[in-house]
């Protein structure tokens, strides 16, 4: 559905994209992660037909975004990182304006706007001015606007920025539902836990290029059925020196972090290996207060790829 080949873009000689390549299949919910200035927003702007690339090729549903932007626009819904609203318009006027901007026929427009109002839970507020809505409701309105013309591909640039936890959860559920309906979603976000929860695959980007984790993978497959590794977060009573030593000696275990009474251990294998480590620690007389194990999350893989202690 989205094909990107060796895409390049510079701003005043500064490389924003330097040969980035990617392929997103139809119906995927695909994430894009990378540090600030990695080129995520530039990439999404090129896909949204807002920016011309200097080189390489980007296609959406088979259409080249540079050569056929008029064919691409009806297929995409784009939500920028800092989206704007017409604060002095009423909610229904705002949606009607964008329905007109997407040239929906008059009869269909009315039905589509009604559906958007109901779908976003804004029916009761249709006559309210946009400026009176809360941030969460504004985000709902923006998403409703983005979906008015029923795009096949959603391009979302940091859509959860500024949202409170409840609004973020709501957004995630909304995106999952859209994806179930067959909409391909390409989303960039700094909130790794959000991506981890909803994305099937995530691409890494750094300095405008495809970045790779320690195993050389540029695209990470999330939600694997059997995780090849488990991360254990352990909290003990008192100092964790002894526990850290014991964990380090355990077969297939690697101590990732040790501070105060807490330690983080990576262990090869599945949950059985984690249970074995717990038994080993308790059997050795360590007073374990908390033991939490899970598959290697996006956060760990992000750290592996970009090296920083804090993403």
């Amino acid at each position: 559905m989205i094909e990107i080949e060796e895409l390049r873009k510079s701003y005043n000689g500064q490389r924003a994209l330097d040969g980035f390549s990617l392929r997103v299949e139809e119906g995927e919910l695909f994430g894009l992660v990378g540090p600030n200035g990695a080129g995520k927003t530039t990439l999404i702007k090129i896909l949204a037909t807002l920016l011309p690339a200097d080189g390489g090729r980007a296609r959406v549903a088979g259409y080249d975004v540079a050569a056929a932007p008029r064919a691409v626009k009806p297929l995409i819904g784009y939500l920028p990182d800092v989206p704007g609203l017409y604060q002095d318009m009423r909610v229904s006027e705002f949606l009607e304006f964008f329905a007109d901007a997407f040239r929906l026929p008059r009869l269909r427009k009315r039905a589509v706007v009604e559906r958007a109002l109901e779908g976003s839970g804004l029916s009761e507020r249709r006559a309210a001015f946009v400026e009176t809505l809360s941030l969460g409701l504004k985000q709902r309105l923006l998403l409703a606007k983005t979906l008015l013309h029923e795009p096949r591909v959603l391009l979302l640039d940091e859509p959860a920025t500024g949202l409170d936890p409840l609004a973020r959860i709501e957004l995630r559920e909304h995106l999952k539902a859209l994806n179930r309906d067959g909409v391909t979603i390409f989303i960039s976000s700094h909130i790794l836990s959000d991506l981890e929860d909803i994305c099937s695959r995530v691409a890494l980007i750094a300095n405008g290029r495809n970045a790779a984790d320690v195993k050389g993978r540029t695209v990470l497959t999330l939600q694997e059925a059997v995780p090849p590794r488990v991360i254990c977060e352990i909290e003990v009573a008192g100092e964790a020196e002894g526990a850290a030593r014991l964990a380090g000696e355990f077969a297939g275990a690697r101590l990732l972090e040790h501070a105060g009474n807490r330690l983080r251990v990576e262990i090869a294998g599945g949950p059985e290996q984690a249970a074995a480590l717990l038994r080993h620690l308790v059997g050795s007389g360590v007073a374990v207060v908390r033991f939490d194990s899970r598959g290697p999350g996006l956060e760990e893989r992000y750290r592996e790829a970009f090296g920083g202690p804090r993403p």
Binding site: Y11, P83, G84, F97, D100
Partner: protein
């Protein structure tokens, strides 16, 4: 109907300036007409006894004063309505949504342009009764009224197009508005100063024998771009095939077309600004 026009008009008329400005505008214009009338018929400044003015003289004075007052006010208002047209979309981060919709750059520009011009046109039309007061006194005909209105409208269209070009180029309304005002000053003041300087320089070169008829055309050329001179030329019946105001009109139309084309090109390339 272009959805941009509907949106712009709706938003414009919701603003407080949507009714405050026309009210102030008509108030100032009425004041100018009253001043012109009393200036012509009364000895306001104690200059001594006035000759009894003819009704037609009073009519022409009122018409000229109101036409010039109108032009000055509208030239001051044109950047206010046009120079923020596109920068406001950039500032409130809505331009990306417009550019990724099925609206073309031309439609976006046209919507902004028509909305600006319609509001200025509304002011122009609302002042027609004031200008028509001169009819009661004579000296002014339909020709002058129509020509003055058309010239003013074309000039405003040109200024709106320039304002929108500035708006497409800059990111901030304050910069766009400042440059638009600079263009208005250049056209109204600098053209006059340029002609005066060139005329003086030519007189120096030609010596005392140089007459105005011998003065080359380029000396007066900047005045073709002066809105006040264009308006004044409407009252001068020269008998030329191409009267002064007609050449000015063509120049202003050319400026408007150029500014429109450049603004649309900028809009298409404004992805970095959104």
């Amino acid at each position: 109907m272009n959805p941009m026009i509907r949106k712009e008009l709706r938003q414009r008329m919701r603003e407080r300036r949507g009714w405050v400005l026309p009210s102030l505008y008509l108030l100032v214009l009425s004041g100018a007409v009253a001043f012109a009338y009393f200036f012509k018929t009364q000895d306001l400044f104690g200059f001594g006894e006035l000759n009894e003015p003819q009704g037609a003289e009073v009519g022409v004075t009122i018409f000229l004063v109101s036409a010039y007052a109108q032009l000055t006010l509208l030239l001051l208002l044109a950047p206010v309505f046009s120079a923020g047209g596109l920068t406001i979309e950039k500032e409130q981060r809505t331009l990306a949504a417009l550019l990724t919709s099925l609206l073309t750059s031309a439609q976006i520009w046209w919507g902004k342009f028509i909305a600006s011009l319609l509001f200025l046109g509304l002011l122009l039309v609302s002042a027609l009764p004031v200008l028509s007061l001169a009819f009661a006194l004579g000296g002014v005909g339909w020709r002058e009224l129509i020509l003055v209105s058309v010239c003013t409208l074309v000039m405003l269209a040109s200024m709106c197009a320039v304002g929108l070009y500035c708006s497409s180029y800059f990111r901030r309304s304050v910069h766009s508005t400042a440059v638009s005002y600079a263009v208005v000053i250049a056209l109204t003041v600098l053209t006059f100063v340029a002609t005066t300087l060139m005329s003086w320089y030519w007189q120096q070169e030609a010596g005392p024998g140089g007459t105005e008829e011998e003065m080359p055309d380029y000396v007066a050329a900047p005045l073709y771009l002066n809105p006040y001179v264009m308006l004044f030329s409407v009252f001068v019946r020269s008998g030329d095939d191409y009267p002064f105001w007609a050449i000015s009109l063509k120049l202003f139309l050319a400026i408007a077309c150029l500014a429109a084309a450049l603004a649309m090109r900028n809009l298409e390339r404004s992805g970095e600004q959104v």
